[in-house]
Symmetry: C2
């Protein structure tokens, strides 16, 4: 089907489509011979993150509202039963078949060469998409050897794993009902995030136990998904995940929105007050450490004339996809450099270093003695 | 002289003046029968913070550029000798005579009823302004009993003190030369900030000793003032002052720009690396404590249904100025309520409580379980 015909179902006229291309609100891109269109600025009903292909529209993966108080948040959000799933700390992909190929799209609407390379190991997608060509499998790729996220769940100790949590349909911005979703996951043996099951707001004590357990294990949190479509999905995270977020990002504090840190401080305190009732010295020390130690190391590096870098390891099936990952980084203005690629067993083991020039530059100017107004 | 005639010397035409009043870039105000005009949005050469009176223009007190590395910052900033003064943690006032009265203007260009009330105790201003009616004495009011700032220097253990650091002239945005300034301070017995004297960039070791000494004593920092007018004033603060800033404000973290906190983290690390070479566990713990403990107390208060408040004590000479301070708060949209006023000896001892509604409201909504997108 033509792309114009496809977007016409989302009330995008030919005029608006062409205008959006001219103004770079929608940007054409290509992967393995397949053309796709990335919505980078909202156009009509199409939010940023949406992908338009000649096999249909892959709507953006929606942001999820957050609650800071588990018990009150559940009571405010739900009058009806809801499903509870683990929130896994990784990066979000939408897996979809376009023409004869299957791709993993990132939240930023790019085909991710790394994720796409590894799809074949996640589940039998040939079988799944043969029978369900219009479905989109959404999930988290998580683990210590991923190219984006500095955190990973404690139970993925090497490489990466895929954890599905949603199934959507092309040309629709709604997920399919929970029961059907879980049935498909089981039927096609698609690995999923931990599914805690169906609860009602009165089960709050069980939910508290789950979250406290996740906090102790070093997991991120929970997602609560309504059975009543008029209610909305909400998320809730552990105090430990706030600490880890701060620790893995504070080396680049200057590049992040400052709210990234203050929001996590507030979140962790809400968690501690609700679940522990107090704030102990260990947590204070850990927070100081998470915020300052990595940033101190960055300042030290720059003071010694070194670039600030982040080191990543990833594994690939196909050598040609390594090059595509670096092309992807180039497109996203990520300054990443390959330092090693070696075939070990089934996989290409790749190491690369990201140069964090914006942080380096600011720290370097300050260290050099330049004055500034703040 | 008419106000129009006065602003014409700053290239403000009658048309622009009237337009600025209409658009509320300049706002007329009144104190004790004296009318003055507050520049709240830049108009021509008049920056925000400037005060226009029929006795002349009181230019805004300029922001001072900051250095994060003492040694390199001094070398970058100065080729010629400079004067070194203590940076005192209080609030800035400009003391000026208008017609027959002497007022203290805040940085926000208001007459401060509290500071104006206490001027008589600072120095013999009658004598000073009789001989120097066009001069403006600029300085810091600091101490534990002030109505604005939660911090105070360690050597002001009760009430407040005044510390002059600058003398400017009406209708000029420049200070008078350092030597003349210090002569006037001494001649009129005007108390000043600690004056460390005249230095050159090669005296860096002495400056390091001074700042380390200030850090140990719990003082804020240093200001470096050029003798060569082509060079500019810079400031540098101690690691301890960053910690204290965080500690006195984090209860209201939600109301502050998040950068307030991240900037202070970075500053303190620069200090520690330059002067100590390391970041120890004590500092990590203190930072965690400064950032989290006061905010945790705020969340606890709201969880228990209490308003978040800040308590202030101040002393006045004249009872009628107490009421004027509350009028001033009302104009600045500060929700302050008198809880006690009592004449003890020479002074009226006043206690008031500021209600911090914006923080309360945000925390309360989160605690109540409302979900939000971040």
């Amino acid at each position: 089907m033509s792309v114009l015909k496809i977007v016409s179902n989302a009330n995008i006229t030919e005029g608006l489509w062409n205008e959006s291309l001219d103004s770079h609100s929608i940007i054409p891109d290509e992967f393995d011979g397949i053309t796709y269109y990335r919505v980078v600025k909202k156009v009509g009903l199409l939010e940023r993150g949406t992908v338009v292909t000649d096999s249909g529209i892959i709507y953006d993966f929606p942001r999820i509202a957050r609650i800071l108080h588990l018990e009150n948040g559940i009571k405010q959000s739900f009058n009806n039963p809801f499903y509870v799933e683990e929130k896994v700390d990784g990066y979000n992909v939408r897996i979809v078949k376009i023409q004869d190929q299957v791709f993993a799209f990132t939240r930023g609407s790019y085909v991710c060469p790394f994720s796409t390379d590894r799809l074949v190991e996640f589940f039998d997608y040939d079988n799944f998409f043969k029978e369900n060509p219009d479905l989109i499998v959404c999930g988290e790729i998580a683990g210590p050897e991923n190219p984006y996220n500095g955190e990973s769940p404690p139970y993925v100790t090497e490489d990466i794993s895929f954890f599905a949590f949603d199934i959507r349909t092309k040309n629709s911005d709604q997920p399919i009902p929970m029961e059907k979703r879980y049935k498909l996951f089981d039927e096609y043996k698609i690995p999923t995030v931990t599914r805690f099951g169906r609860y009602t707001p009165s089960d709050i004590n069980d939910l508290k136990k789950h979250i406290q357990d996740l906090n102790e294990k070093g997991c991120e949190g929970l997602v609560f998904k309504p059975t009543d479509p008029s209610e909305k999905t909400v998320k809730y995270v552990t105090a430990g995940s706030c600490l880890r977020d701060m620790k893995v990002t504070s080396s680049l504090m200057i590049e992040y929105q400052a709210e990234f840190f203050t929001h996590r401080m507030l979140r962790s305190l809400f968690y501690l007050l609700e679940h522990h009732g107090n704030l102990d010295d260990t947590f204070l020390k850990k927070t100081g450490d998470a915020l300052l130690q990595p940033l101190f190391e960055s300042v030290k590096k720059v003071a010694e004339g070194e670039m600030i870098t982040e080191r990543f390891k990833v594994r690939f099936n196909k050598k040609q996809n390594i090059k595509k990952l670096f092309e992807h980084f180039h497109n996203c203005k990520v300054d990443a450099n390959l330092v090693r690629q070696e075939k070990i067993g089934q996989h290409w083991h790749v190491e690369f270093v990201r140069r964090c020039f914006p942080s380096y530059e600011v720290i370097q100017k300050h260290w050099d003695g330049h004055s500034h107004f703040d």
